[in-house]
């Protein structure tokens, strides 16, 4: 059977994915015909395409799906059951799904067709806005921009315009912003936030008309109240209209105000034709949010699968929760349930306003103050996931407690039918079942199996709570204990050591642990002590905590020899120093290799050779590269503006500055960094724990990237920082990571495990929500101030040097088991004995 889907937006994409996933028999042969020149992408995240250069593409469908892009369907022939595209292609169908979405509504005001006037819907729109704004800011610096419409999408557009360097105004005809989601109190508080960010809000006034300047482009927006605003760019975001022209063209009923009329199975009057998403008028309503659109897609997928076997599906679209949470330039805004119910509907308000903190909260409850009906949160939406889940249910405590305690102590006892993930329609029971039946123990597993939290992510904290509650109930200990000697996680131990000023392992384990430690906890504590600056890592008792790499300040290789990596900050090295490395390698017969971090690794050193090798290196001005430590490794750089034709900043200089600042910094795992001198990104900074990319105005900072086994593209944390701002932010980032990460947790997985993810990280280290930024900076200053080269210090300490022997009773004898043979003019290790597991099995 042939299915044709018209439109490849998020809803069309979801429909095809849902169908293909469940259509095991392959009953449906799917063709998708889209108008845009590209496959579906994540329209919800549209703004990040401009502000973060995000890749919005959805995963491609499997090869069983035929996708035609850039060729819109022009007509439907219901009798012959075919569609014809603009280019004249004809495709036959047994079932047809209209997923044509909506078009931005542009009110009929004068000047709406002028150059410089845009809508905000597609990647093409955004590309055009970006090109225009670049031209505008170059030719008319300081030019203003106006977004017409102060709703959800309008504010997104405003954020994008401001990000493009335009002085931005928002015009909203209603008396306050986001009138569809917020009450007056919330809208007014939101306005304060938006204005604090440097935008101007004109509320309660319509647009009268747009005027052109001498160049024929838009130059001015006249408002209904007589005022006018200079504007070199205008974006209309005044609502949407369903794209129902195909339905009209083939005689299908549409709503009075547009929308393809469908029943609750999303079927039109013609049983072979469905409509889903923003183009559909279901139960008399058009939905513009992604969650209900996805629900429709799921319903139709079920209907199609049942139809293929001649059965009826019980799947129905049963209305939708219109709850919303978004973050606009750091401002949390959320609305859930029915926030507008009043005394006439037997509802009461509980409100809280903090004008200083910019927080507004309102809960709408039943008149006995027990059942939650809806609410609005502005400035602090941390309680949103829990509160939304409680809509229609009895609150566990008083409304006041719910307003302030929000997410505490719930999750395990949420009613089973409570919808946890709105985007993907996942209930608490579905999550619990998946955890139980499939034995899930990790948040990531729950996300991929149930899709809960996989779209907007706002419910992730709640999913985590349910998971923890299930695991606890199943007797699976959600243990954060490091090992049998400590009941604490690494982060907790870090706080204990820091707050109680503990300086030895013995003190820590006798007061806060048990037994005598092991190869898990000892290096962790050694690292914590080192991060907090407790002297040389081989001093006193600390020496016994170090693993062999830290103990010999070198990297153990497979034959028991070590490798040596001197620091080469930023990868910059003089010819004389290069020669020294070459001479040392030659004189000690070491194998040399260039590392990925732009330095040189010398292999095959025996322990008793290490001090002599390092004596030569330190005398020539080298210092430890900490390749052996869970510490900062390198800050890689491209050659930068000094030499490169394209470079816009001195990336080498910045890399050296950063590497020297953070050298020797002990962390939960190794840290890698890079600085690129322009957006060509030759230093691959977006695959590093922290990566810096030069811009015309300064530096963009990316964090939590990773190469290796699980590559992760770094996230953009902040843009256009000056040198000082960059260093300060990296200081905070690194210290916060060091304090809170688990053992051997790289920054990439640390970020993924942070409740609230990147937003939370921003709140802590940019907005200073926890009030710890000054402390983090001080801690880093202490590290920088107390840095001392570990190898130089070791060479100056006969006691430490005495440990560098292969044999305690024969210090001058080299280890006879270490043997090499030549390969490509260098040495290669030979294991004389090889693994000898037979020793015991006989």
């Amino acid at each position: 059977m042939r299915l044709v889907v018209v439109g490849h937006g998020p809803t069309g994409h979801r429909l095809v994915e849902a169908l293909r996933e469940r259509d095991e028999a392959g009953a449906w042969q799917v063709t998708v015909i889209g108008e845009e020149p590209r496959p579906a992408y994540d329209r919800v995240a549209l703004t990040s395409y401009l502000t973060e250069d995000a890749d919005l593409a959805y995963p491609a469908h499997d090869e069983g799906v035929t996708l035609l892009t850039g060729d819109p369907v022009a007509a439907i022939d219901r009798k012959r059951r075919t569609v014809r595209t603009a280019s004249g292609r004809e495709v036959g169908y047994d079932a047809l799904v209209l997923a044509t979405g909506s078009a931005p509504f542009v009110p009929p005001v004068q000047g709406r067709d002028l150059p410089g006037v845009f809508v905000y819907r597609t990647i093409d729109d955004l590309d055009a806005i970006r090109t225009h704004c670049r031209d505008l800011t170059a030719s008319r610096p300081g030019a203003g921009g106006v977004v017409i419409g102060g709703g959800l999408l309008g504010l997104e557009a405003a954020r994008a315009l401001q990000g493009l360097g335009v002085d931005t105004h928002v015009v909203e005809v209603a008396p306050w912003l986001m009138p569809r989601q917020l009450d007056e109190g919330g809208g007014v508080m939101l306005r304060r936030h938006i204005e604090a960010l440097g935008m101007t809000v004109h509320a309660g006034t319509p647009v009268a008309g747009l005027e052109a300047g001498d160049d024929g482009r838009v130059a001015r927006v006249g408002l209904g109240d007589g005022a006018s605003v200079d504007a070199g760019v205008v974006v209309f975001s005044a609502g949407i209209r369903p794209r129902d022209e195909l339905a009209r063209g083939c005689g299908l009923p549409v709503g009075e105000r547009g929308g393809v009329a469908v029943d609750d199975t999303c079927r039109t009057e013609d049983p072979a034709i469905f409509a889903v998403g923003e183009c559909a008028l279901v139960n008399g309503q058009v939905y513009g949010l992604v969650a209900p659109c996805f629900s429709m897609a799921e319903v139709v997928a079920d209907q199609l699968l049942a139809a293929a076997t001649g059965q009826d599906s019980p799947a129905r679209f049963e209305g939708a929760d219109m709850s919303t949470k978004l973050k606009l330039m750091g401002v949390d805004v959320a609305s859930f349930g029915d926030p507008f119910a009043g005394p006439d509907q037997g509802a009461l308000d509980v409100t809280y306003t903090d004008p200083v903190g910019g927080v507004y909260k309102k809960l709408v409850v039943s008149d006995d103050a027990r059942t939650l009906i809806g609410g609005v949160l502005v400035g602090d939406a941390s309680a949103y996931p829990t509160l939304r889940a409680y809509v229609g249910a009895e609150l566990p405590g008083s409304p006041e407690q719910a307003l302030f305690g929000g997410t505490e102590a719930v999750g395990g006892d949420l009613p089973g039918a409570t919808q946890i993930c709105n985007c993907n329609n996942v209930t608490a029971d579905t999550i619990r079942c998946a955890i139980r039946e499939q034995g899930l123990t990790e948040l990531g597993e729950v996300k991929s199996c149930t899709r809960a939290g996989a779209t907007c992510g706002s419910c992730v904290p709640l999913v985590k709570k349910i998971l923890d509650a299930e695991l606890t109930a199943a007797g699976i200990e959600v243990s954060k204990a490091l090992c049998e000697h400590f009941d604490y996680s690494r982060a907790e131990l870090f706080d204990i050591v820091r707050v109680r000023r503990i300086t030895t392992f013995t003190e820590l384990i006798s007061e806060h642990g048990r037994g005598r430690g092991c190869d898990i906890c000892k290096p962790v504590v050694a690292s914590i002590l080192a991060s907090l600056g407790s002297g040389h890592i081989l001093d006193g008792e600390q020496a016994a905590l170090q693993d062999t790499n830290d103990h010999f300040l070198a990297n153990l290789q497979k034959n028991g020899t070590y490798s040596v990596v001197p620091r080469i900050p930023g990868g910059e090295i003089t010819p004389d120093k290069l020669i020294v490395i070459g001479e040392v390698a030659r004189d000690f017969g070491l194998y040399t290799k260039i590392t990925g971090g732009q330095r040189i690794d010398l292999f095959g050193a025996r322990v008793e050779q290490l001090p002599r090798i390092w004596k030569r290196l330190v005398d020539a001005g080298f210092e430890s590269g900490h390749a052996y430590g869970k510490a900062l490794r390198t800050v890689k750089s491209c050659v930068g503006s000094t030499w490169c034709r394209y470079g816009v900043q001195d990336s080498v200089g910045m890399a050296i500055k950063l590497e020297l600042r953070y050298r020797g910094l002990r962390a939960p795992h190794k840290l890698k960094a890079a600085v690129s001198g322009c957006s060509r990104e030759c230093a691959e900074a977006q695959g590093k724990d922290f990566g810096v990319i030069a811009t015309d105005k300064g530096w963009n900072l990316y964090v939590c990237g990773n190469g290796g086994m699980r590559p992760r593209h770094a996230d953009l944390l902040a843009t256009d920082l000056d040198d000082e701002g960059l260093v300060r932010l990296i200081d905070r980032f690194l210290m916060f990571y060091i304090r809170t990460a688990d053992r051997l947790q790289r920054t990439a997985s640390w970020l993924e495990s942070l409740d609230g993810g990147l937003d939370y990280l921003r709140e802590v280290i940019i907005e200073d929500r926890l009030g710890i930024c000054a402390e983090l900076e001080e801690a880093m200053e202490r590290h920088v101030g107390s840095y001392s080269d570990e190898w130089r210090d070791t060479l100056e300490d006969p006691d430490k040097l005495s440990r560098f022997v292969s044999f305690v009773n024969a210090p001058d004898v080299p280890d006879p088991s270490i043997v090499f043979e030549p390969e490509r003019e260098q040495i290669k290790p030979v294991l004389v004995t090889g693994p000898r597991l037979e020793v015991a099995s006989r």
């Binding site: 049998e484 000697h485 037994g515 005598r516 430690g517 092991c518 190869d519 906890c521 000892k522 290096p523 008792e541 020496a543 016994a544 905590l545 693993d547 062999t548 103990h551 010999f552 153990l556 497979k558 034959n559 028991g560 440990r803 022997v805 292969s806 044999f807 305690v808 009773n809 024969a810 004898v813 280890d815 006879p816 088991s817 294991l831 004389v832 004995t833 090889g834 693994p835 000898r836 597991l837 020793v839 015991a840 099995s841």
Partner: protein
């Protein structure tokens, strides 16, 4: 299992080596909770002093990697058993018996070790079997 007969860390020198104790180093040279390696008639012996002052001697050869590195492992306890973890692939061995706790089919040979009461020196004996 290992062919070592005397698994106790201290005790009379076995006859296979003519009852000879080999000096290793002074007791005070040993860092608590850390190991050193001694080369005794071509055999590499890992010598450990634990936090409570006990001494242990085991083969320095890590059977899992084939490298002579056991003396550089981290000491600890597992359920009260004194242990050393190989620095190569982190298998954990019982210091008293040499048995690998992660894979009890595997064990390190152990050696008699003592602190000479007269001189304070640490001494190790080779059994016939260890000498191969």
């Amino acid at each position: 299992m290992t062919t070592t007969t005397d698994l106790r860390p201290t005790g009379p020198a076995p006859r296979g080596d003519g009852g000879r104790w080999h000096p290793v180093c002074s007791y005070d040279d040993l860092i608590p909770e850390r190991g050193v390696c001694a080369l005794i008639e071509g055999v590499q012996v890992a010598v450990f002093r634990t936090f409570d002052g006990e001494l242990y001697a085991l083969s320095n050869l890590d059977p899992f990697s084939g490298a002579h590195v056991i003396s550089r492992g981290i000491l600890g306890t597992r359920g009260g058993v004194p242990t050393v973890a190989s620095p190569m692939y982190k298998e954990v061995f019982d210091l008293r018996t040499g048995v690998c706790l992660d894979d009890p089919q595997v064990a390190l040979p152990t050696f008699p070790i003592r602190r000479d009461p007269a001189t304070g020196r640490v001494e190790v004996a080779l059994t016939h079997a260890n000498r191969q």
